[in-house]
């Protein structure tokens, strides 16, 4: 016998200082912050309090991007494309939506964030990343 059941549980997740700063900066200034690790010198994006690899506390967050490079991507059956994007100045890639035709994406494609008009300190204040037309780019 199979019985259907459902679970409804509300949660309220605290972002903590580093992620709060990342989200507030995104909302108020449209800037994307990364955190430099004093030990391995990587810039971690999104910003965080400490480097998971070294265990060290990160330094004062810095602006990264807004342009970046697609590291990998997957086009879902419904046409939604997810990609890992490494923003210029960052050493880690962040997961987000790639906007536009899934068949046209390539690894190494240059992208820029499309920001939501009304932002509310959420990662979805970035609607996704869209192709960047760089100077001299004929396409």
């Amino acid at each position: 016998m199979i019985r259907e059941g459902s679970i409804h549980l509300p949660f309220a997740y605290a972002a903590g200082p580093a992620a709060s700063r990342f989200l507030v900066s995104l909302r108020d200034e449209g800037r994307i912050l990364g955190s430099p690790c004093p030990a391995c010198r990587r810039v971690l994006c999104p910003a965080r309090s400490f480097c998971p690899r070294c265990g060290d506390e990160t330094g004062e967050p810095i602006s990264v991007g807004p342009a970046g490079t697609v590291v990998s991507f997957t086009a879902q059956a419904g046409g939604v494309v997810f990609g890992l994007v490494r923003l210029d100045g960052a050493d880690t890639a962040m997961l987000h939506r790639l906007l536009g035709d899934g068949m046209r994406w390539t690894i190494g494609a240059r992208v820029r964030p499309r920001l939501a008009a009304r932002r509310q300190a959420s990662i979805t204040d970035i609607e996704g990343f869209e192709p960047l037309q760089e100077p001299g780019d004929g396409t």
Binding site: F11, Y13, A14, P52
Partner: protein, 384 residues
């Protein structure tokens, strides 16, 4: 088997709501404090174990916080979840890893962020065919057993209130403790809001955000790093049948805790626990449970727990101080609570309990309790 000791610990400030930090940052606060306490760098740790309960954190893979917050990147790690005993079970697993020779130094971290979700509801998501429709979480479960316990053993609401007062007064000497009520009186406990007959608000543990970590090391390392290691003398863990109605007179019989206690006493050569133990850190989510545990742990005969608390036997200046930390009744970040019991028992052996130190403590008991289904007992001792 090799010798194993607890050589350091770290705790966060436990509070109703720690929305100043994320889950990972909370874990890190305790993990970093424990390493600093033991005088170790992250690179000195061979493996990391995490204690945390299901359905409380509201996200996939809370064990990722080990890698993120507890310095486990590139190291072996695992998570253990056994209800309220998660913390003590995880400590026991770390003891086994070191005793076996597999690792020399293991970091254990437990955490909980009650404020972010609905713990009682999570706990009430029991068997969907049997009791989910009527489950009432820890509070309802406890209250049911307490009616049987009171009837059989004759404990009174006033005796339970004495436990509440003892816990909160002890907690006032513990800077980490969530509840700080140094002036609490029996009358205030008895006048507090009824939650579920006969359990009143101040009979019950709080729901806390917090984390705790300990560092476990093998004999040679422990002697080198720690002036007074807390040696693991014995451990036992017991499981029970699964549903609420399986165990007769649960709080009275408490087969799991009774068996686990007898097993560790036998292994550690303890015959008179009340006289031989110097301090106990027991997992008492509700005042009445502490009384029941006195009996299950052999601190007194069945039916004598009420007299024990009335005579002050378990207060800080009694024969056997129980929960100098203020216990679960003063801080309950569930996934961390068992680790806290072990950390606090070890602190007593280290002789670094500050204003909650039991003078000259050399033999300590720590216990874990999880929804009647699990119990753990651990005996820690000073160098013999």
């Amino acid at each position: 088997m090799r010798q194993v000791a607890v050589i350091g610990s770290g705790q966060t400030r436990h509070a109703r709501c720690r929305d100043d930090v994320s889950q990972a940052e909370l874990v890190r606060e305790a993990a970093a404090a424990a390493l600093a306490d033991a005088g170790l760098r992250p690179a000195d740790v061979d493996a990391v174990l995490l204690s945390n309960m299901e359905l409380f954190e509201g996200r996939a893979f809370p064990e990722l916080w080990v890698g993120e917050g507890a310095f486990a990147c590139g190291k072996p790690c695992m998570k253990i979840a056994t209800g309220g005993t998660s913390g003590t079970s995880t400590c026991i697993a770390a003891f086994h890893q070191v005793a076996s020779g597999m690792f020399d130094t293991v970091l254990v971290v437990g955490f909980e962020k009650h404020s972010e979700g609905h713990t009682q509801t999570g706990m009430a998501l029991t068997d969907p065919f049997w009791d989910r429709a009527v489950a009432s979480g820890a509070l309802g479960n406890f209250a049911l057993s307490i009616s049987e316990y009171m009837a059989e053993r004759g404990v009174t609401e006033r005796q339970a209130a004495l436990v509440a007062v003892k816990a909160r007064r002890n907690a006032a000497q513990n800077p980490h403790a969530h509840l700080q009520m140094p002036e609490l009186t029996v009358d205030e406990v008895l006048a507090s809001r009824m939650l579920a007959h006969p359990v009143r608000l101040l009979d019950m543990c709080p729901q806390s955000d917090g984390a705790c970590a300990i560092v476990v090391a093998s004999g040679d390392r422990a002697r080198r790093l720690c002036p007074r290691p807390a040696w693991v003398r014995a451990t036992a863990t017991r499981h029970e049948q699964p549903t609420l109605g399986d165990i007769d007179r649960r709080l009275c019989s408490m087969r799991t805790l009774r068996d686990a206690a007898h097993a560790v006493y036998a292994a550690a050569g303890i015959t008179e626990p009340l006289a031989e133990l110097d301090v106990a850190e027991i997992y008492e989510p509700v005042t009445y449970a502490e009384l029941a545990w006195y009996e299950a742990l052999g601190f007194c005969r069945d039916g004598e727990a009420g007299r024990l608390i009335e005579d002050g036997v378990t207060t800080m200046d009694g024969t056997l101080p129980v929960n100098p930390s203020g216990g679960v009744l003063s801080s309950n970040p569930v996934g961390a609570s068992g680790v806290i019991r072990v950390a606090e028992a070890a602190l007593q052996i280290h002789g670094r309990g500050g204003s909650r130190q039991v003078e000259g403590a050399r033999l300590a008991l720590a216990t874990g309790y999880g929804v009647y289904a699990w119990a753990d007992a651990i005996v820690l001792g000073a160098e013999s």
